[in-house]
């Protein structure tokens, strides 16, 4: 019993880690590779989740859509939708310097949340959307969990592979060049504004995909899921801890932070009952403190960005 339970729990955690890993990969495209301070991850996550839900869930009289499409369409739609939302936002906001971009994207996420919460005919309003299908949802509990976990990990690996490939390609090289020295990149003929927008939109699409994976895992979505603490800051901490600029770092960060976040509850459970309630807040405190410690002692993260060698994906010229 206990070992089955343990595996079930591990499967669940693995699924959540996979989803957060994808979020962190999306953020890495924006921040790690391009240097864009997006503090509104929750917004793109939500757009992806809602759109995928709307495409695949059964229809409901109080809102639009509900087309019962296959899940794959939901995922593609989520990516496309998040990208489409990101495009005008990026057009407007990417010209701001980083602090302003941060506050602007926090505002964007807040507006997205307000819209999803208020416009019932669009999003089911405060009650959200239920009845979202899950692939392998018909299986027995453990098996279904595990199958979905495997699916999420497969998607994570696919996204990882695709992004690695994209970053190793001339496109990624160019983005890093823009991040390192905007002026020189412009002088080398790179269209800075357009390329940044590309990275922003690409990152948003990946975040939208994570939202879609999430909604099919939960089979429902309500506006509470768009919480800045859970859906934005946790992701930031993952990326910073793991190592921004490094895709493997992003995934490692997701693993570590989610493990600490989830398992810290076992620790707080051991506290005396009268402080146990308050101890739940200490988790948040510890996450905040962890961020401070990383920033101070290891700002490049556990897996720092690698220098050029790896991205010159064939043997170096000197050895030819």
């Amino acid at each position: 019993m206990a070992s089955i339970g343990l595996i079930n729990y591990a499967t669940f955690m693995g699924t959540m880690i996979g989803i957060y890993g994808i979020l962190a990969l999306g953020l890495n495209v924006q921040w790690g590779v391009t240097g864009l301070f997006n503090a509104g991850i929750a917004g793109f996550f939500a757009v992806g989740a809602y759109l995928s839900a709307l495409l695949t869930a059964p229809p409901s009289p109080e809102r639009i859509m509900g087309w019962e499409l296959p899940v794959a369409f939901g995922w593609l739609g989520a990516m496309a939708g998040a990208a489409l939302i990101a495009w005008p936002i990026g057009r407007i906001c990417l010209r701001f310097r980083s602090d302003y971009l941060a506050i602007a994207t926090i505002g964007v996420a807040e507006v997205i949340r307000l819209v999803l919460r208020t416009e019932e005919s669009l999003s089911g309003g405060a009650r959200g959307i239920t009845g979202v299908p899950r692939p392998f949802g018909g299986f027995e509990y453990s098996l279904s969990q595990f199958a979905y976990f495997a699916l999420v990990i497969a998607v994570l690996l696919l996204v990882y592979w695709a992004l690695e490939r994209q970053l190793a390609a001339p496109w990624g090289r160019m983005m890093k060049a823009i991040r390192d020295n905007e002026q020189a990149a412009a002088a080398m003929g790179k269209d800075i504004a357009k390329r940044r927008l590309e990275a922003f939109v690409l990152g948003a699409a990946v975040m939208g995909l994570a939202g879609a994976l999430y909604v099919h895992f939960m089979r429902a979505i309500t506006p509470e899921a768009i919480d800045p603490m859970i859906s934005t800051f946790l992701v930031w901490i993952m990326l910073i801890l793991g190592g921004s600029g490094n895709n493997r770092g992003a995934i490692l960060g997701a693993v570590i932070v989610w493990l600490i976040w989830s398992m810290s509850e076992f620790v707080t459970d051991q506290l005396p009952a009268d402080v146990a309630t308050q101890a739940k807040y200490i988790r948040v405190f510890l996450i905040g403190l962890m961020l401070q410690l990383i920033l101070r002692f290891r700002p490049e993260g556990l897996l720092p960005e690698e220098s050029g060698q790896r991205t010159s994906y064939r043997s170096p010229p000197s050895s030819r």
């Binding site: 301070f37 503090a39 407007i92 906001c93 701001f96 310097r97 980083s98 602090d99 302003y100 941060a102 506050i103 602007a104 926090i106 505002g107 964007v108 807040e110 507006v111 307000l114 919460r117 208020t118 603490m229 800051f233 930031w236 901490i237 910073i240 308050q278 807040y281 200490i282 988790r283 948040v284 405190f285 996450i287 905040g288 403190l289 961020l291 401070q292 920033l295 101070r296 700002p299």
Partner: protein, 288 residues
């Protein structure tokens, strides 16, 4: 017409004062230390709760507890700087911005652990308004406005006439030259944090006394405070005050135009517009 003042303008100005006091802190940090301080709302929350703590522990009336809270918050702000931000000074500013997001979370959770999450109030009962020729004002609203005016006037006078106030302005204006004049960077930074902490406590206190104390109140107000600071022009104290009042009024008046749930978006829309159209703000602040 008088109703328009009573129910839209007066609340707008009271809320605006709260935003203004917060925005001054944000604008000073932006101007002198050159980063966006995302823990500012939670610093204000902490200040408000410290005042509550002072009323409970020392048996003070709220208005007497306020100075105590202001001093404690000033020390807290300095302590945060000392423990966390200072080590990031030589690094890219963006790291400090991130750190401040984390500090905000930490402050909030400390308040939640110590005081719990139920809304609390400085006192019970309701305050009926007095009529001033039809204009309805409550004593605490008058006090809020008076406090804001007094603090702003004191701060402006300090910046204008005192030696260290001038040093702060010099630091904001041209940090390299200020250093050449023998201004000690660390000392100005310390002073800035003290002032910022004091004002944040006053901001939180005014918010608390006009409504209730909740642990999320500062975080929710932060977007508005930032909008106020940017609207007034970064680095401009008088701009932050005007910006705060404008945002406060705009939020109240937005109800006339859009459904109430979108009230929270008002500040954001103004922020976006000002960043796009006039990034230097009303009072020609810095464009960072």
């Amino acid at each position: 017409m008088i109703e328009f003042f009573n129910f839209y303008v007066v609340p707008g100005i009271v809320t605006g004062s709260v935003y203004a006091l917060g925005a001054i802190g944000i604008t000073l940090i932006f101007g002198i230390l050159r980063f966006g301080h995302f823990a500012h709302g939670d610093l204000a929350t902490t200040g408000a709760y410290l005042a509550l703590g002072a009323t409970a522990l020392l048996g003070l009336t709220p208005w007497v507890a306020l100075p105590v809270a202001m001093i404690l918050t000033a020390l807290l702000a300095y302590g945060i700087h000392r423990l966390f931000y200072r080590h990031l000074e030589s690094r890219p500013k963006i790291l400090t911005v991130m750190a401040s997001l984390g500090i905000g979370m930490m402050l909030r959770s400390i308040v939640q652990v110590v005081w719990g999450v139920d809304p609390l109030a400085y006192g019970s009962g309701i305050a009926r308004a007095q009529s001033f020729g039809g204009l309805m004002l409550r004593p605490r609203e008058i006090a809020t406005l008076a406090l804001t005016l007094a603090l702003v006037a004191a701060l402006l006078a300090f910046l204008r006439y005192s030696k260290w106030g001038k040093a702060m302005r010099a630091m904001s204006d041209n940090p390299d030259l200020a250093r050449l004049c023998g201004v000690n960077n660390d000392q100005v930074t310390r002073l800035t944090w003290f002032i910022v902490g004091t004002l944040a406590a006053a901001s939180g206190f005014c918010l608390g006394i006009n409504t209730e104390l909740t642990t999320m109140m500062g975080w929710s107000a932060m977007l508005s405070m930032f909008a106020a600071a940017v609207l007034g022009g970064v680095g401009r104290v008088e701009g932050a005050v005007v910006g705060g009042l404008v945002i406060g009024l705009a939020e109240e008046l937005s109800v006339l135009l859009v459904p109430s749930p979108y009230k929270s978006a008002t500040a954001f829309v103004i922020l976006l517009a000002i960043l796009l159209l006039r990034p230097q703000g009303i009072f020609k602040g810095k464009v960072l």
